[in-house]
Symmetry: C2
Subunit: 221 residues, 2 copies
C-alpha cells in the first residue's frame, strides 16, 4: 500500500518558490490500476517521482508497505526503487552508449541471473512492445516512439510490484498505444502489480479503474 499524507514539494528559485505539490493526501491499495490526469505543469511527474522514491517531499509523509520513504536513507530508497518499482520516464532516460537490449537488461544486473538469462528475458519483453528487430540499435538510432517503448520494456523486466508510467504513450500512434495499455492491464490483472499511469489521453484514462485529477499541485476532490 502507498500512502501520502499532506505531501508538499517546493522548489526555491531565488526569491520565488514553485509549489509543485501542495498537501497531497492519497492512498493507493495494492493491485490498483489508476490514471493521473492534469494539465501541463500541474505536478504529475513530481508526484510520480516521490512515489517512486526518486525524490523526497519537502514536507509531509510518504509510506509504502510500512516504510517511511521520506525518512529513509539514500541506500534504503535505492533498494526500494530497485526491488519494488518499475519507472517509465517521461523523457525515457536511456543510456546512450548501450544497445536497446543492454538498456532493457540493465535492471537485472542486480539479480543473480546469468547474463544469457538476462539477455533472453530482455529480448522477450522487447518482443512484447514490438521491438524484437531493434535489439542492437543505440537509442540515437531509434524513433521517438521506439525509445519510449524501450523505456517501457526496461520498467517491466524486473516484474516490479509498482509500475509508474509517466505519459508512456505520448509518442505512440493509437494502435501501438492500445497494445501498451493492454500490456499494462494484463500485468495488473495477472501479476497483481499496482499500476499508475500519468496520461493526457482520455481514452487511456478511461481504461483504468480509478482516475485522480491534479491541478496546480493539489488533488481535486
Amino acid at each position: 500500500m502507498i500512502e501520502l499524507i499532506n505531501v508538499c514539494k517546493e522548489y526555491k528559485m531565488g526569491e520565488d518558490t514553485v509549489h509543485a505539490l501542495r498537501g497531497v493526501n492519497l492512498v493507493v491499495n495494492d493491485g490498483e490500476f489508476m490514471a493521473v490526469v492534469g494539465s501541463s505543469g500541474s505536478g504529475k511527474s513530481t508526484l510520480m517521482h516521490i512515489i517512486g522514491g526518486l525524490d523526497r517531499p519537502t514536507d509531509g509523509r510518504i509510506v509504502v508497505d510500512e516504510d517511511d520513504l521520506g525518512a529513509a536513507s539514500d541506500m534504503k530508497l535505492s533498494k526500494y526503487r530497485r526491488e519494488k518499482v518499475g519507472f517509465v520516464f517521461q523523457s525515457f532516460n536511456l543510456q546512450p552508449s548501450l544497445t536497446v537490449l543492454e538498456n532493457v537488461a540493465l535492471p537485472l544486473v542486480f539479480t543473480r541471473e546469468h547474463r544469457s538469462e538476462r539477455k533472453r528475458r530482455a529480448e522477450e519483453v522487447l518482443e512484447l512492445v514490438g521491438l524484437g528487430d531493434r535489439l542492437k540499435h543505440r537509442p540515437s538510432e531509434l524513433s521517438g516512439g521506439q525509445r519510449q517503448r524501450v523505456s517501457i520494456a526496461r520498467a517491466l523486466i524486473n516484474n516490479p510490484k509498482i509500475i509508474l508510467a509517466d505519459e508512456p504513450t505520448g509518442n505512440l500512434d493509437s494502435k501501438t498505444s492500445e497494445k501498451i495499455v493492454d500490456l499494462l492491464k494484463e500485468i495488473n490483472s495477472i501479476r497483481k502489480a499496482t499500476v499508475i499511469i500519468v496520461t493526457h489521453d482520455d481514452k487511456i484514462a478511461s481504461q483504468t479503474k480509478r482516475i485522480i485529477h491534479i491541478s496546480d499541485g493539489g488533488l481535486l476532490n
Copy 2:
C-alpha cells in the same frame, strides 16, 4: 515550394539496412497546413529532418524554392535552416545550461537585433505558449510539457517561412494542445507560413487542411 522526388533514406547497420524512407514523392505548396500521420517507426521524423535540411537523402532529390538541398553544401544547408525553417523537435533539444528565455532567443542571435529586442521578442512568444512565468528556469527545472512548449516557442521566434512541428503536443493536455494548434493555425493563415505537423492525435490531424499517411517509409496513395 517543397518538392521531394523519389527520396530514399537508408541506415546501414552491420549487415542489415534500415529503409527509413523508400522513394517518397511529395509536393508541398507555400502556405499549406498539413499533417503527417503514421505508426511509430514509420519514417515521419526522418521525413521532417530531410525537409528541414537537418539530414540528407541517401537517394532522390529535394528541392525547396528552387534550391537543391541534397546537393547543397553544409554551409548552404545551415543558412537554409537558419533563414527559412522553424523546427520543433520530438525530443525538444533544448540547451541545458541556458534559461528558457535564452533558449528561445537563440535563433535571433544571427539577426541584427539588439539584445534587449531579442529578449522582448522571446518573452512575447513565451507568453503565447503560457510560459511567461518560467523565463528564468533551466530546462531541467521544467515539466515535460513546459519543455515542449519552449521548443515550440523557439521554432516560431524567427517568423520562419516553413514550420516543421514533430509531435508538438505529445506531452500536453488537451486544453494546452488546442492552444498550440490554434497558434499554428493563426501563423499559417496570417503569416502564410507553410506548417507541417507530425502528430499521432487524430483530433489535431483533422484540423489541418491536408493529411498525408506514411507507412514503413512510404507515402500511401
